[in-house]
Symmetry: none
Subunit: 226 residues, 2 copies
């Protein structure tokens, strides 16, 4: 089921906005093992292109003129033999269409503002035959408003905390696994200073130790995986 040797992964981009297509192309083409073999501006053009180009993956916007991503997904899966994997792309959190697309047989979905690494990863995953939902994307979907998103309790904890600039720096470095001594070296201050900041931010976050503080950082979206 895993095609280790198939190089490169071929991708067809389908989006009505040229800018989005260009962005996806740039992100994907930067990978040596991914090749964008074609583009389309609406769902109606997808089927002939899929037949002609035989891409491994179709990255497709859900909202398009003429034929939207849901209908296009259905059409491809119904009419094309050995169909490509389909990743639907959406701009909006909690897009109803996404669920429709998944039911229609899409293999995954992504938010347009996902980080490049996530997009690349998603394409690779579906190309390998993984049919799964991407936690990061779901997190975004479920997520909220503003800079922080995630577990409401964690967000609340971090907002209530009102960390100072230095404390935020220290928390970020803690969330990268650095010890107090390493943080001190990085910030060019003494370890006692770092300990002071750490104690302060632990108290503000209501965390017992650095591990709990880092958890809060992840849960709140203050730092993000990937």
């Amino acid at each position: 089921m895993i095609y280790a040797g198939r190089m490169p992964v071929t991708v067809l981009l389908v989006d009505d906005e040229p800018l989005v297509r260009a962005g996806l192309r740039a992100v994907l083409e930067a990978q040596p093992d991914i090749e964008v073999v074609g583009e389309a501006a609406d769902g109606a053009a997808v089927i002939p292109l899929v037949r002609q180009l035989r891409p491994d993956v179709v990255a497709m916007d859900v909202r398009m003129p003429l034929l939207d991503g849901i209908e296009a997904t259905r059409a491809v899966l119904r009419t094309v033999a050995d169909p490509p994997k389909i990743v639907v792309i959406t701009t909006f959190e909690n897009d109803e269409y996404v669920y429709e697309a998944l039911r229609a047989g899409a293999d995954g979905f992504l938010l347009k503002r996902a980080r490049p690494a996530e997009i690349v990863h998603a394409v690779r995953l579906v190309a390998e035959g993984e049919s799964l939902l991407f936690p990061a994307a779901v997190r975004e979907l479920a997520g909220a408003h503003g800079r922080l998103r995630g577990n409401p309790d964690a967000v609340a904890a971090l907002e209530r905390a009102a960390l100072t600039g230095r404390e935020e720096e220290v928390l970020r470095l803690m969330a990268r696994g650095l010890s107090n001594a390493e943080i001190a070296a990085r910030l060019v201050v003494g370890t006692e200073t770092v300990k002071s900041h750490v104690s302060s931010l632990l108290a503000k976050l209501g965390a017992r130790d650095r591990t709990q503080a880092v958890i809060t950082a992840y849960e709140s979206g203050f730092v993000a995986p990937g």
Copy 2:
């Protein structure tokens, strides 16, 4: 923010078939750390029972008379403060209702023919706040071999690690911010045992301390925010 030492995980079973309820009860009650606190035969009875019993987890069939699992999920999440985690149960793979339920806010789902160990595992996972998309239930549903998502380095580290079942449990609890003593209490073992598992998994993960291990867990998608 941090959910410490909640000892028996309390579960409410909701299914129209008494046989299924009996089976679930037998499977779950066999675990010392899981307690079935109530049962209901249809979705309409769920809300008062949730209010009365305050279960940690509701295991709920999707297809039921009167009020199905999707509507019941929506109702619980809309009307109950500090709602329980909800695991929906389905007989069929690729059940359309499952997507509906997830969209309604369910935290996980299970196939009825899952092995007892998987059912128990799923209940523990959602009780710990684990993400719905990662666990074995999804692999089962997707029919594919499970794979981690996220930072490739972190994923690689976790896959290379080949953690034992116990080590995975310990890592999950570490990622909820629990101390060794708390993990020991939760798993009903000695603190020395936990330390042993912690040392072992730290070595396998190439992590220097528990904070770095938790970071790897988040980065790889082994645990997910939210």
